[in-house]
């Protein structure tokens, strides 16, 4: 566990956020004895009562959180459920107990034993036991037919889920995995605990079951499709004294939209998530309001179809990688969506090359693009394309950011390498159909991961036959290394291997990283107890149990 401590400290140093460090330094190390006692405790200074109005994303397309991949579900439904472990809402990172009061990890890393809370009740009055955890996780690990759960690969090493007694459950692994990875998987906001009976009654598919019972701090009251989801305080919540607010109203509003921004600025909602930059900046300047930004687990990237010559040539792909002026690309969309420069590994993750080092030293990320362009031209000449390439089809998703970027990238490739592209803008669902069918040369889109840990997305994004490897990229040396990273339990060695993997990806790019998404939140100062500045993504900390209203 001490390794986690050093990693976290390292992260905090890199982040350079002094305020975050102050908060986080008071928090216990994940998995340590002190962390296991760190359940969120009621704040005696907090006021009780009131209605919290939260604006986030459009309405969910279905109600099954496990099967979902969008914040549309998490944003609205999370407050009704708990997990085995959770990320501390005070820093968004430290893993603390939730329904599992404490846990033990076998020295060989192949057994995780969770001791569950007693006296926890589902919203329908049923007792929570280890059988519910088993049913939940067996469904996640091996979904029934017709059920697709994106987090299934996180638990690929789990061979058995064994109920030891009604309040003790054991996860047995075929082979050890890094502890940070496994604990992160258990603390993922997607892995809500649902009743065994609920799953049985619905044949394991909750897509059309609107309000299945959870154990969370809020209970379902009503929902108006595409408008609002209303919840009330769960008076029987196991964490006595929480939540503070009596009622929670979740308003469905498109992300980055003026509609969401104006609802917040006019006080129609108390807290807005996924704000557009213009509204966010205005909120930041408005007295009585607070604005925060944080990193999100989404990469915006250009895929290059490796099956279409000359894009199979790593030199051509690296040349294109070096030809992008990433700082300009972030600037291009600054009034549409907040972004930051990064490479092939989450730039804010403890295992990756620090963003500052990336931007100051590495070709392709520097503000001065001349050296990178020079190298790109050399590579193109070496690959036999000194005069450029003609007629590449550039598949563009019909969204403001992608359309702006596509035009900018088209110009950058033309000006620096004389690569000519023809833009083909299509609706989102069509983009994925075309991408999966290989009907493109270049394609721009965003892809997400469940965890920030490289072992999650190295497989999904860059793995051979990875579901989001739209470039159809393969590199045996990388795939071997990724497999080793997945199994390496020593954090130091793992970090070294991730850096080696990064070096391979730089030389043989599977995609062109355009930028990493950031999230803009803002709220009226009457909302207390929430500051997402140090959060990683928007999926793990959405419960509102520790938030209260000052007026």
């Amino acid at each position: 566990m001490s390794d986690h401590a050093s990693d976290r400290r390292t992260f905090l140093k890199r982040a350079g956020a002094a305020s975050a460090a102050v908060v986080a330094s008071r928090l216990p190390v994940p998995g340590s004895a002190s962390a296991q006692d760190a359940t969120v405790k009621p704040d005696p200074a907090a006021k009780r009562g009131g209605t919290l109005r939260f604006g986030v994303h459009t309405a969910p397309a279905h109600f099954d959180v496990h099967q979902s991949g969008t914040v549309a579900n998490i944003g609205a439904q999370s407050p009704m459920y708990d997990y085995l472990l959770r990320r501390d809402p005070r820093d968004g990172q430290t893993i603390i107990p939730d329904l599992a009061q404490r846990w033990e990890i076998a020295p060989d890393g192949k057994k995780y034993t969770f001791h569950l809370r007693r006296g926890v009740k589902f919203h329908d009055g049923a007792d929570f036991t280890a059988e519910d955890v088993k049913a939940t996780y067996e469904r996640i690990i091996a979904p029934p037919k017709g059920v697709v759960i994106p987090r299934t690969p996180l638990f690929s090493a789990v061979s058995d889920v064994v109920v030891l007694d009604p309040y003790r459950i054991e996860f047995r692994l075929k082979e050890a995995r890094p502890r940070a990875f496994m604990l992160g998987a258990f603390a993922s906001g997607w892995n809500i605990i649902v009743r065994k009976k609920t799953l049985e009654e619905n044949a394991g598919n909750l897509r059309n079951v609107m309000a299945y019972p959870g154990t969370g701090p809020f209970r379902h009251v009503s929902r108006r499709d595409k408008e609002v989801w209303i919840m009330e305080r769960n008076p029987d919540y196991w964490n006595k004294g929480l939540p503070y607010v009596d009622k929670l109203e979740v308003y469905h509003m498109p992300p980055f939209s003026p509609e969401l921004g104006s609802a917040l600025l006019t006080g129609k909602i108390d807290y807005g998530r996924l704000l557009d930059p213009v509204s966010w900046r205005r909120a930041k300047e408005t007295p009585g309001m607070t604005a925060a930004e944080f990193n999100q687990s989404v990469i915006q990237a250009v895929f290059m179809n490796n099956k279409k010559p000359p894009l199979g040539d790593p030199r051509v792909r690296r040349a294109m990688h070096l030809a992008l002026d990433r700082h300009a690309l972030v600037e291009v969309v600054k009034d549409v969506a907040p972004m930051s420069v990064g490479g092939f590994v989450y730039p804010f993750h403890e295992l990756s090359t620090p963003a500052a080092e990336l931007i100051s030293k590495r070709l392709g990320y520097q503000k001065d693009t001349k050296p990178a362009v020079q190298e790109a031209r050399r590579l193109m000449a070496e690959a036999g394309h000194p005069n450029g390439i003609r007629n590449l089809t550039f598949l563009v998703r019909d969204a403001a950011t992608f359309k702006l970027w596509a035009v900018a990238i088209q110009a950058m490739l033309k000006e620096t390498l004389n690569i000519e592209t023809n833009l083909r803008t299509v609706q989102i669902s069509q983009w994925f159909e075309d991408a999966a069918a290989g009907n493109f040369d270049l394609g721009i889109s965003a892809i997400v991961s469940a965890l920030m840990d490289p072992s999650d997305y190295f497989t999904a994004w860059y793995g051979k036959d990875g579901p989001q490897n739209y470039s159809l990229w393969t590199n045996p040396a990388f795939h071997d290394l990724a497999r080793q990273i997945e199994r390496e339990v020593d954090d130091g060695r793992r970090k070294t291997m991730v850096r080696q993997a990064e070096a391979i990806l730089e030389q043989d790019p599977p995609l062109l990283p355009v930028s990493y998404e950031k999230i803009y939140d803002a709220w009226h100062n009457r909302v207390r107890g929430q500051n997402p500045s140090t959060f990683f993504g928007i999926y793990d900390v959405v419960r509102w149990d520790n938030v209260w209203l000052a007026s």
């Binding site: 459009t58 309405a59 969910p60 397309a61 279905h62 109600f63 099967q67 979902s68 991949g69 969008t70 549309a72 037919k145 017709g146 059920v147 697709v148 759960i149 994106p150 299934t152 690969p153 897509r207 059309n208 609107m210 108006r224 499709d225 595409k226 408008e227 609002v228 308003y251 509003m253 003026p258 509609e259 104006s262 609802a263 600025l265 006019t266 006080g267 129609k268 909602i269 299509v426 609706q427 989102i428 669902s429 069509q430 994925f432 159909e433 999966a436 889109s445 965003a446 892809i447 997400v448 991961s449 469940a450 999904a460 579901p467 989001q468």
Partner: protein, 298 residues
């Protein structure tokens, strides 16, 4: 039938909306086939069409792919809001367009006419959604105001309801009003040169009475026809304008359904719009007989 076929020919996959980017990417072909079967999308097209006809006959209109909500409930919940916007916009178009047309016709090629014609051309040219966005931004930045976020029916809270519908109604009404102004001007210009108008003036009837009692009723018939046609524009325009104002009406539901590829919702809403358009045009045709006694005799 046309919309049913078009929606099935159009590219795009509802499973992207259903599972998100990550989930969709991880769908195995077998899972995908099973889910499409659950949604009823793998049935032969005639079977799907027959099922839709059965749902229409039963009054439920089927259920949304995604959340299982009944389309009929969606229409009952959001339809009144869109209907109010439509009716209010027609009223506004007459209240604005008719006086402007009359003033313009009575003072042809003079300053009031030139101003009226310029304004009507301006409002003909401005897209409704753009004007809507300007109004929303102006209300926000100057008055820190935004309309209610959820559907509020007239019978629940008339004031909140008015705040929801007035913006889109004004934008759509001004657009239509421009057409009404131009049409009423040209019709009135023709009518006031007729013999019976000259006779009325020769008898010493006041100018206002001549216009209102003798000229206007005869000039209105084409304007009524135009209003019927414009209702079609209102239906189409409401989709974009509701979106601009963030009003949770049927137009907005249609936009979301198109994005989600929720074909059941889209095909039912398009059908509803088509039925409304036909009914309005029939009503306009029937109104001729009431407005113009000559038509009744033929």
């Amino acid at each position: 039938m046309i919309i049913f076929v078009v929606l099935r020919v159009l590219p795009g996959d509802p499973l992207v909306a259903m599972f998100g980017l990550e989930g969709f990417a991880k769908l195995a072909p077998a899972d995908r086939a099973r889910i499409m079967e659950d949604l009823g999308l793998s049935d032969p097209l005639p079977v799907q069409y027959a099922r839709w006809m059965r749902d229409i006959a039963g009054g439920s209109l089927g259920r949304s792919f995604f959340r299982g909500d009944k389309v009929s409930e969606l229409i009952l919940h959001r339809g009144p809001l869109s209907a109010e916007i439509g009716l209010l916009s027609v009223i506004i178009s007459w209240l604005v367009g008719l006086p402007v047309g009359i003033v313009s016709a009575l003072r042809p090629n003079k300053l009031p006419d030139n101003v009226a014609r310029s304004l009507s051309v301006l409002f003909l040219a401005i897209p409704g959604f753009w004007l809507g966005m300007l109004i929303v931004l102006a209300a926000l930045f100057w008055f820190n105001y935004k309309a209610p976020l959820v559907v509020v029916h007239l019978w629940q809270d008339p004031w909140a309801n008015l705040q929801l519908v007035i913006g889109p109604a004004v934008v759509l009404g001004l657009g239509q009003g421009a057409y009404i102004a131009r049409m009423s001007r040209s019709c009135l210009l023709e009518v006031i040169l007729e013999d019976y108008v000259r006779t009325a003036r020769a008898k010493g009837v006041g100018e206002a009475f001549v216009v209102v009692r003798h000229a206007l009723p005869n000039a209105l018939l084409p304007v009524v026809t135009l209003s019927g046609i414009l209702m079609g524009f209102v239906l189409g325009g409401s989709v974009a304008v509701e979106q601009a104002f963030g009003v949770p009406g049927l137009g907005r539901a249609l936009v979301v359904a198109v994005i989600e590829r929720d074909t059941i919702v889209v095909q039912n809403l398009v059908l509803l719009y088509a039925v409304i358009f036909v009914v309005i045009n029939v009503a306009v045709d029937l109104s001729y007989a009431w407005l113009d006694p000559r038509i009744r005799y033929h």
